[in-house]
Structure formats: structure tokens, C-alpha cells
């Protein structure tokens, strides 16, 4: 063993690859509002091209942090993730997810936004709780306007 640490070398190559990290509930802190992320039905994440990971307790905080505070530039964003309400504690692609805004489903940051991975499940939730379905673009605009659903 001439170079005892040589086997670590390939790890360095992986070090910079931008990758999603699961949220650690009860430990991770929201980048935007500083709240500890605790509700397994809600949460979000931003991964930059450089591989930096920012975690959020709710869709509201991700949208505010990215589009209002401009924490990172748009072209630096590698991927956006949200917790799937129908599959707690699991992150799914934010831009492919569906968002139900219903007064019956309070989210951690007060705008009643629930993210769901599939359209069928979103519609099932809508049937049960009412509200409006939108996509990532529309819901982030809603967050910036801070509009609550009608009761």
C-alpha cells in the first residue's frame, strides 16, 4: 500500500455532482423562514448546478426564496423539488408536480398550498377538499402575490 488514501480519489469526482438530498425532518432548517422542517407532508428543495442544496419547509418558502429574494440566479438552478403530499417525506420534481390550493388543507406557511406528484391524485384531493389546481409556474406567481384561497 504505497498510497493508502488512493481509494478516496474517485469520491472527489462525485463530490460536485448536483444531487437531491432527502429532508431530515425535525433537524433541517428552512433556508428562507428558519423554521425547523417538521411536517412530513410539506417541504421543498433547491439544488444548484454547483451542487449546493437549499432546503425549505414549504412551497411558499421555495418560491419566495428563489423568485423574490433571488437567493440564486435562475441559470444556476439545477433542479427544484417538493414533497409529495400523497407520499409523505418523498421529494418529487417541482416543475412536473401539481398544486392544490384549498382552504381545507393548511400548509406550513399560510397559503394553503399542497403539492402532489400525479394529476389523478390531485384531482381526488380536490374532490375531497375543494380548491384550485395549478402548475409550478402559476403557483409560484400566487406565492409572490401572497394570495390566499377563498373560503
Amino acid at each position: 500500500m504505497k498510497y493508502p488514501l488512493l481509494f478516496l480519489l474517485p469520491l472527489l469526482l462525485f463530490g460536485c455532482k448536483p444531487e437531491m438530498q432527502p429532508l431530515e425532518f425535525g433537524h433541517d432548517q428552512c433556508q428562507h423562514c428558519r423554521m425547523t422542517i417538521a411536517d412530513q407532508r410539506y417541504g421543498a428543495e433547491l439544488v444548484t448546478k454547483k451542487g449546493k442544496v437549499y432546503k425549505y419547509d414549504a412551497v411558499e418558502c421555495l418560491a419566495n426564496s428563489l423568485y423574490k429574494d433571488k437567493l440564486v440566479e435562475q441559470h444556476e438552478v439545477f433542479s427544484l423539488w417538493v414533497i409529495d403530499f400523497s407520499n409523505p417525506a418523498t421529494l418529487v420534481d417541482a416543475e412536473k408536480s401539481f398544486y392544490l390550493q384549498s382552504p381545507a388543507l393548511p400548509s406550513p406557511m399560510g397559503l394553503f398550498i399542497t403539492a402532489v406528484s400525479s394529476k389523478e391524485k390531485t384531482e381526488a384531493l380536490q374532490k375531497e377538499h375543494g380548491g384550485e389546481i395549478s402548475d409550478w409556474k402559476k403557483i409560484s406567481a400566487t406565492v409572490l402575490k401572497q394570495t390566499k384561497p377563498h373560503k
Binding site: E24, F25, G26, H27, D28, Q29, C33, R34, M35, T36, A38, D39, Q40, R41, F85, P88, P106, P108, M109, G110
Partner: protein, 420 residues
């Protein structure tokens, strides 16, 4: 003929009067006893039989009846050791009527669900309710109030099952409520000890919140509330006041909130509040504030914290006066290069100036952000150099000739003696 009519009229009125009297007698509030050998052996049948204003007295024993729905103005009172067990299936007591009282009950084992907020006691759209001397054990949510007004939650113990990342709701949860008094409760092992969202004019007094996985007490979008004389200890963080205005915080103890993301008190986007007479003991950060304006922070004690204060550059027009800063590793951490807050007449145990004119006020100003605090703010890993000779020399030279630390940020009149 006339006299006969008179008599019959008299008789009639007498009859009316006596029926009125009798019905009044019967409609008067009555007590219904419930026990295995009583006429009424279940809580549900007692509720069915009860009229508004009645009291249901539960005798000692364990009751397993699934979800118990109360839609009448009644009181449910335990005598002896009364246990209502939900057997981990459903919500246990659901109240949908005004003026309901629950007293001396032990309510345990709710179900847990992702889509429904399961609570041991849920009070929805009610007024004038009271939950008193109850013990709630292993509830997903403990006591849950939504759209409630003028209620008392007093003398209860709410003990959850949350250990670490475990999923759990809040011990006492207020949603869209008004005028709720929460006092003398003991709250442990939940997500938050007490959680308020869109809840105004509430009073939270003398509670003990310990060992919750997130906050001892948590305000979201709630205004004009007061919390006084509470103890928040060993929670992941003590109290978080977020997006709320006119909150008064008096005489509380925030202690032993240790950890990388821990605080005694977290302030985020709040305005016009009062923080006075509190004690911050051994927290990673005593008060952490972001986008916080016009707060009055006076006569508090910051004892043995990592940072007594971390005040972000986004905070403005806050006044710190008459506080005692005792043996904190850092007195004030900030990313601000200028000073938009006021620090005056505080006692700083790190102050090293003299008082030659003996007026009780140090002759030179005190700068609570020393060079090392500044360094750690810029480069957190440099904390490894703490208490080294090198750092002490740097701090000294920076004091003599400030170049990096914000010089405007200082207490012009530091006190020589701690405020009593």
C-alpha cells in the same frame, strides 16, 4: 254562571302555572352518572340522553367508545381515575357546541393520519369552552381548537410520543382562534408545545413546555397575543414568533435549547412587540432576529449563551436597554456593517472600561461585536480558534484601532453594575 267562569279561569291559570313550574323543574340542569353498573353505561348514551346545560359525571374506569361527538352544551366531568381510550383508531373527543366543559379526564391513544389532523380533543367552531385538569397521552395532536373563541385551556398535561424525527402534531394547536386563555399546562414530546396560526388576542401564561421536537411555543400570522411567565426548556428551539405583530413577551424562561439550529427565541418578520423581564439561560443563541422592527427589548437577562443575540442586518429600529449580558461566548453576532438599532444602558460582562467619574456608567462606549464575533460570522469554521492567545491579541488590537468591526454598533452608556 259568571262565578263558574271565574273559577274555571282560575283553575286554568293555576294549571298553566303548575305545568310551567313542573317543566321548569324538569328542564333544570341535571347530572347523569356514567359507570359500568350505572343505568347509563356508556358516554355516548349519556350524551344522547343529556339536554343542554346537563353535566355528565364519569365514574372511575376505562371507556373505549371510539370517536365521541359532543353537539350539546354539556359538561363532561371525571370523578376518580377516568380514562377515555381511543385505541389508536380515531380522533377521540370532538366538540361542536358552545359552552362545553371537559374536566378531570385522561384521554389517550388517538389514531394518526396524514390527511386528517387527529386530535385527542378537537373543538371546532365553538365559543366559551373549557378544558381543565385533563391529561392527554399519546395524542397525535393533543388539544386542537379551530375557529374557537373565548375558551380556557387550563391545568392540563399533554404528553406526546414524538421522540426525534417522529411524526407528531402539536400539544395545543390554535387555528383561527380569538381570546383563548392557555395557562398552567405541561406540554411535552410533541412537534410544538403550543402552536398559534391566525389566532389573535390570546393569553398564554405559566405553562411549562419541555422536550418538544420543534418549538416550545410557535406563533404564525397571529397578532396582539401575550405570553407571560412560561418556561421553555430543552426544546429544539424555545419560542418562534413569525409573521406576527404586537406580541408581548414577559417574564419567561428560555433555557437549554442547544444545537446547530437552536435558539431561545426566534423572531422572523415581526413588528412592534415587547420583550421584557425574560431569562435566557444556556441557549446556542439567546435571541435570533431577522426582518424584525420596532421591538422593545428591555430588562432581560442573557446568561451563558453561545450568542446572546444574533441580529441580522434586516432588523431596524429595535431598542435594547437595561439588559444584563452575563458570560456569553459572543454578545452580539450580526452580518450588518452599519447599525440601525439602538443599544443603550445595558450591562455587558465583557465590558472592560473604567468609571472614573463614578456615575455608574462606563466612561468609554462598549462594542458588543468584537473582532472574533465578526470573523466567525464571515467564516463559521474559524470558531475553532476560540479562546486562543492569537485571537485575544487580535481582539485587543482591533479594540484599539477598529478596522473591520462595525464601530457605529455600540452601547454609548454601558452600565458598570448588572441591573437588578
Amino acid at each position: 254562571m259568571i262565578s263558574f267562569d271565574l273559577i274555571s279561569a282560575q283553575l286554568k291559570s293555576g294549571l298553566v302555572f303548575s305545568t310551567l313550574f313542573l317543566s321548569a323543574l324538569f328542564s333544570q340542569a341535571k347530572d347523569i352518572s356514567v359507570c359500568p353498573s350505572c343505568e347509563c353505561s356508556t358516554i355516548k348514551s349519556a350524551i344522547e340522553e343529556a339536554n343542554s346545560g346537563d353535566r355528565i359525571i364519569l365514574k372511575g374506569g376505562t371507556y373505549r367508545e371510539g370517536n365521541i361527538l359532543i353537539e350539546k352544551e354539556i359538561a363532561l366531568i371525571g370523578e376518580g381515575e377516568v380514562i377515555i381510550d381511543g385505541e389508536k383508531k380515531d380522533e377521540i373527543i370532538t366538540v361542536r357546541a358552545n359552552k362545553v366543559t371537559l374536566r378531570n379526564l385522561q384521554i389517550q391513544n388517538t389514531g394518526s393520519s396524514f390527511s386528517k389532523d387527529m386530535a385527542a380533543i378537537k373543538l371546532a367552531r365553538v365559543k366559551n369552552c373549557t378544558v381543565e385538569n385533563c391529561k392527554v397521552i399519546a395524542g397525535y395532536f393533543g388539544i386542537y381548537l379551530s375557529y374557537a373563541q373565548n375558551c380556557f385551556i387550563r391545568g392540563n398535561t399533554v404528553e406526546g410520543v414524538a421522540v426525534s424525527e417522529f411524526t407528531a402534531g402539536n400539544a395545543i394547536h390554535l387555528w383561527n382562534c380569538k381570546n383563548i386563555t392557555i395557562e398552567d399546562n405541561r406540554l411535552t414530546k410533541h412537534r410544538d408545545g403550543i402552536y398559534l396560526e391566525f389566532s389573535d388576542s390570546c393569553r398564554i401564561e405559566k405553562n411549562h413546555s419541555e422536550g418538544n421536537i420543534r418549538y416550545g411555543l410557535h406563533f404564525m400570522f397571529s397578532d396582539n397575543d401575550i405570553y407571560k411567565g412560561n418556561t421553555f426548556t430543552k426544546n429544539q428551539a424555545g419560542v418562534a414568533v413569525m409573521y406576527s405583530h404586537h406580541i408581548t413577551m414577559l417574564d419567561n424562561e428560555f433555557s437549554y435549547n442547544w444545537g446547530a439550529t437552536s435558539y431561545g427565541l426566534l423572531l422572523k418578520e415581526i413588528k412592534d412587540g415587547d420583550i421584557a423581564g425574560n431569562r435566557f439561560l444556556q441557549n446556542t443563541v439567546g435571541i435570533f432576529a431577522e426582518s424584525t422592527d420596532r421591538m422593545n427589548i428591555r430588562n432581560n437577562v442573557f446568561d451563558n449563551n453561545g450568542w446572546a443575540l444574533k441580529i441580522a442586518g434586516s432588523c431596524m429600529d429595535n431598542v435594547f436597554t437595561g439588559n444584563n449580558f452575563l458570560s456569553n461566548s459572543f454578545e452580539l453576532g450580526t452580518d450588518a456593517r452599519s447599525n440601525s438599532n439602538r443599544y443603550e444602558k445595558n450591562y455587558w460582562s465583557k465590558y472592560s472600561g473604567y468609571d472614573l467619574d463614578r456615575d455608574g456608567i462606563g466612561d468609554v462606549p462598549h462594542n458588543p461585536v468584537d473582532l472574533f464575533t465578526y470573523l466567525v460570522e464571515q467564516q463559521p469554521s474559524s470558531i475553532i480558534l476560540m479562546r486562543s492567545l492569537f485571537i485575544d491579541l487580535l481582539i485587543l488590537s482591533e479594540k484599539v484601532n477598529p478596522m473591520l468591526t462595525p464601530t457605529a454598533l455600540r452601547d454609548e452608556q454601558p452600565l458598570m453594575q448588572a441591573v437588578k
